[in-house]
Amino acid sequence: MNLRRKKLWMTVTLAVLAAAVILIPAPALAANPIERFVMVEASQYAFTPATLHANPGDTVTIELHSADVAHGIYVEGYGVSAEAQPGQPVAFTFVVTESGVFRLRCSITCGALHPFMLGRLTVGPNWTLARAAALAGLAVLAAPLAVRRETA
């Protein structure tokens, strides 16, 4: 009886913790917005660097250089893009507002593997990863509960 109540309490506690991990809004980090300038080189079929990082509020300028044929860069979620031909770099500026991970795509059909020419823009800390790690930790804590129930 006592054991079962204890188990119930632990289960409820873990469930509440898990809900908290999932639902509590991410704290806003008070970082001063800065201007970021990134030179991105596009070649068949990759962006270099492939991952860009910024914090919410930052003004990001991307200068796109093509290293072989005409390429473009399109930032998913922000809907901004630019296209560069070899020898003619282009730059564009936008303000990042939404945090999260956004995909970069080539916006010009540049060759057979064009659909796989991708990059990433990460804005702000990766809360999804942090939450997933916390949930994984809770799952590890919950594991003995399940095991004991079966052996009991």
Partner: protein
Amino acid sequence: MKQETLARLVVLALAGVASIPLISGPHTPLLHARLAEEGGWTPDVLHAEAGEPFALRLTSDDVLHGFGVGHTDIEPVLVAPGTVTDVTLTFDQPGTYTYYCTVWCGLNHWRMRGIIVVEGETPSTAPPEPPLYVQLAIDIDAPHPADVTPAVRPDAANAPDAAVEFSFEQYAATSPAQLFAEFSRQPGLKDLTDAQRWNLVAALWAGQTSPAALVEGEAIFRQECAACHGQLGGGDGLYAEALAEAGEAAMDELAGTHDMMIQAPPDWQDPAVLLGASPALLHGKMLRGGMGTGMPMWGALYTDAQLWNVVAYLYTFQLNSP
């Protein structure tokens, strides 16, 4: 038996209906764009009538290409895979027009060309004038190093006041280094310092063009030339090495028949290279292309006036223009 006759008639009728679009009237040609390595434009010769609207459908079989027509003010359009772009062109004058790819689609992008033969009444039969480099008997393949180079970058804004007659013909036929050498012998200009004489040369060069012309020249340079010649004319563009490698491989295959080497683009950041070239020589090189390199023939795409603007822009790599 009767049924069989009926069946034969039905089949014949169906075949007849199906063939109507094949024989009725002219249909709009569909132009396929492919990488030059895969065959370029198909078809690469089109026929049109002067003064008549000429409809054309464009599609790409691989990557994004562009369609532009030289010597006309037709706006280039993009040719994307999976879609068909409709264009209607009108040619006022009969002649042969070159269409070309306007998007850097690959190493051999500049080989993607085709022609439109426009038929019609030719108003005048005056033979075209030979280009200036031919008239001046300039060997555009000969080396042309400058004998003298300025110690500091010449600046047209600091030119001394000197009344010097300088016509377009003189400009076209003389390299800046030659003009400098000439000034060094002229009585009125002999006493100036070297820097002053170079500044005078820069001012005379600037006097042969205008800021608007330089802007147009720069735009063409960036679009067409920078990929091989480099954004600052250093001969270090992205494709310079790749073209040299590709050319070398081709030369190896031809070993024995052609004893020649692929040349890299010249370094115009070196005053000895650029200041030894006369405008007519540079104009001729653009017009004709070749030189055992990947240099395309621009005469088919750009008018003389446009090429002169590019020539004027090239000199700004060495001479400051106000």
